[in-house]
């Protein structure tokens, strides 16, 4: 009777862990899809912003507000000692590529109960995630 109960407990645990694992995996897939969607939306908005601040649009808005380009004789120059000038623009870095190894999820989301048990035993009973 005892082995049967133990088997049932282990089976139950196995099912529970696998169910959670499947749920987490499903969540990962959903989040990946959402991330891709947000990235696309971000790119679209960035391009829209760039279009709205293009020289053509800015000049049009400035003229409509009553501004006009300054002529050389209308500009006053002041020498400010130590002023380094406007900061130099540095473009954002593109995302670093991650290899398959770097890109995998934490084992907590993917490993089976058996794998967890093996890992647990190989570490002498500690260090589980």
């Amino acid at each position: 009777m005892l082995p049967l109960i133990a088997l049932l407990i282990v089976g139950g645990m196995y099912l529970a862990v696998n169910a959670r694992r499947a749920q987490a995996g499903r969540q990962v897939l959903v989040l990946q899809k959402k991330q891709a969607e947000l990235e696309r939306m971000n790119a679209d908005l960035t391009a829209m912003l760039a279009e709205l601040t293009s020289p053509e649009q800015m000049l049009e808005r400035a003229l409509s507000l009553g501004y006009r380009p300054a002529k050389p004789g209308e500009v006053e120059y002041i020498l400010v000692e130590g002023y380094p000038g406007p900061p130099v623009f540095v473009a954002p870095r593109p995302p670093a590529s991650s290899s398959m190894g770097e890109g995998t999820l934490s084992p907590a989301y993917t490993e089976t109960l058996g794998e967890w048990l093996l890992r647990w035993l190989s570490w002498g009973g500690g260090g589980g995630q």
């Binding site: 499903r26 679209d44 004789g73």
Partner: protein, 606 residues
């Protein structure tokens, strides 16, 4: 004793339920394996079994020097149909909705949806539209239309679009529109970069696609690895200066009724291109007419007679005419064979290699100094300097040092080298020496001329023009260093010639004058060679100049092709230079001479 009757009954019921469940599973398995949808399941199984997907990285972004976005990626969507999910109503409704939203023929869409694709073994199709010449091209929709269609798909009250799927793909977009279009180039629908920066840096921008295992099964979900991304580029271009230059050029083209034109603004100290404008403009968002003939979709365009020149500032050769005299005089001064005050008696004609050379006005200008020769742009005098003073070997040695007939190596796709016939060339004759001295019989691109003349502005040091200021990759930034192409003349020669050109500019044309700034420049009016000799009607009017004299911060080249209002560079191109410089000194925050002198003399403010 316990009555086991009801328990047995319950057990039988449970067993029956399990048996029905198992039977249903068996039936479903048989249906999956051999039923009408077996091929579909087989296809899914195959995909899952292969579990691979090609992941393309986002193409690198392009910015101007101040961080304004010039090229980015936006999502576009292909319209695909899962034909097995189509219903009778969705076939009609998809065609109706798409024909109204996208203004496409209903019949064409309907025919695609009613076609028996399954009989041909196709279960997923990409909807296409008909373009001219009977060709078909995938239908592509933007984010706004995609949002509308997604809304329909999610709303049970909306038209039935069952089976329709929106498949995202990146599209290159250029937020500044036609601004700097020739410089940037474009990317076609397949992601290949053409011309300009997009063409030159295509390999760097595109990154590297990778093949990854797919994670359709939740139990096997894993993070998708990112492929090595393309680099982001920061250009030397200032988009505000570019806009100003393009606006002035467009107005000049209209005023002078010129056929085309180019303007380049460069920092002569380091070769950074601040603006490069060409007319007619290229809109990279509508690049079809500029594609190579074999890749164009529209057959009407394909049959057009003339091939458009992309970025003529680096690919359009021309005989420079009098602006070339700067190089001849630089060579003569540097070689020490003439001085600015040396006298020359202009008789109005000179024979070089059997060819009679006359001045632009056919007149004789009598006693002239070298300064006068430049000021009055005397062909006879420059031909004398080249043939009698410099001599053939030295003259061509200097032209070679100035890079005439060679690529500058600018980082733009499509640069051409120009043409210079040297004495080694089988067709070269001595008369070429005379005509070359005043810019005839030799062809350059605008960028070549500005690079060569830039050596005079930069104390004799010739620097390579370049377009990219910073390359930003995932690992860090790379700042290309200024490349010195050579020192064709000494610093002393450069200074002497700059003073001569500044002094002569006032006498040559008053149209290039800008109050409170000392500028340097030379006009050019060149005839256009044809296969029957020089065209008697048209000219190329040009101006090349820089400033301020004491501390050059910019050099500008203006070229107008076939102006109708006047053929002369001094009349049509010099005013364009002035208009540009008047705005340039404000935008680049260059104070007038007097203020700069005060500051360098220790003054506190202006």
């Amino acid at each position: 004793m316990i009555d086991q009757g009801p328990s047995r009954h319950r057990i039988r019921l449970v067993l029956l339920f399990i048996a029905i469940l198992v039977l249903a599973m068996v039936v479903q398995l048989i249906r999956v394996q051999f039923g009408p949808y077996a091929p579909a399941f087989a296809a899914i199984e195959l995909v899952i079994a292969e579990q691979v997907e090609k992941v393309e990285p986002a193409r690198g972004l392009i910015y101007d020097r101040d961080g304004r976005l010039l090229a980015s990626n936006i999502p576009m969507y292909y319209l695909e149909v899962e034909v097995r999910q189509l219903t009778d109503s969705s076939k009609k409704q998809i065609a109706a909705v798409l024909s109204r939203v996208l203004v496409l023929p209903f019949e064409d869409l309907s025919a695609q949806l009613l076609h028996k694709w399954v009989d041909e073994g196709q279960f997923r199709i990409r909807l296409t539209r008909l373009i001219s010449g009977g060709k078909r091209w995938p239908i592509v929709v933007d984010q706004i239309v995609a949002d509308v269609l997604k809304g329909f798909l999610a709303d049970p009250e909306a038209p039935d679009l069952s089976g329709l799927a929106l498949v995202p793909a990146p599209k290159r977009t250029y937020p500044a529109g036609w601004l700097a279009g020739h410089v940037i180039g474009f990317v076609n629908q397949k992601g290949k970069g053409y011309f300009g920066i997009e063409g030159y840096y295509d390999d760097w921008l595109v990154g590297r696609s990778i093949t990854v295992e797919l994670g359709y099964i939740p139990l096997e979900a894993r993070l998708k690895p990112d492929p090595p991304a393309g680099v982001n580029l920061v250009l030397t271009i200032d988009i505000d200066i570019q806009h100003m230059v393009e606006s002035i050029l467009e107005q000049a083209i209209e005023d002078t009724k010129s056929e085309s034109g180019q303007v380049i603004v460069m920092d002569p100290r380091n070769g950074e291109i601040l603006a490069m404008a060409s007319w007619p403009p290229l809109d990279p968002n509508n690049y079809q007419p500029w594609l190579p003939r074999e890749e164009r979709l529209n057959e009407e365009v394909e049959e057009s007679e003339e091939e458009l020149v992309i970025n003529p500032a680096v690919a359009g050769q021309f005989e420079p005419g009098s602006t070339f005299k700067i190089l001849t005089m630089a060579a003569a001064l540097d070689a020490g064979v003439v001085t600015p005050d040396e006298e020359f008696i202009d008789t109005g004609m000179i024979e070089v290699g059997g060819n009679i050379i006359r001045n632009w006005d056919g007149g004789a200008w009598g006693p002239q100094t070298m300064l006068g020769c430049i000021e009055h742009s005397l062909n006879v005098c420059l031909a004398y300097v080249a043939s009698e003073k410099l001599g053939t070997p030295l003259f061509y040695e200097y032209l070679k040092a100035f890079g005439v007939g060679q690529l500058t190596g600018i980082d733009l796709a499509g640069e051409v080298s120009g043409q210079l016939r040297t004495p080694r060339h089988p067709d070269w004759t001595e008369s070429d020496l005379g005509t070359n001295s005043f810019g005839q019989g030799v062809s350059l691109t605008p960028i070549q001329l500005l690079t060569a003349v830039g050596a005079v502005a930069n104390g004799g040091m010739m620097v390579q023009p370049h377009m990219v200021r910073t390359v930003v990759g995932p690992e860090g930034e790379y700042w290309p260093k200024t490349t010195i192409l050579g020192r064709p003349i000494s610093a002393e020669t450069a200074e002497t010639l700059s003073l001569m050109l500044s002094e002569s500019l006032g006498g040559e044309t008053h149209f290039a004058h800008v109050d409170e700034y000392t500028l340097v420049g030379k006009t050019g009016t060149a005839q256009i060679p044809t296969e029957y000799g020089y065209d008697p009607r048209w000219t190329v009017a040009s101006f090349v100049g820089w400033g301020p004299l004491e501390d050059p911060r910019f050099s500008v080249l203006v070229r107008l092709d076939k102006p109708e209002s006047s053929p002369w560079g001094s009349v049509v191109a010099a005013p364009v230079f002035r208009q540009i410089v008047e705005r340039l000194v404000v935008m680049m925050e260059i104070p007038p001479d007097q203020i700069r002198e005060k500051w360098t003399g220790g003054g506190e403010d202006g």
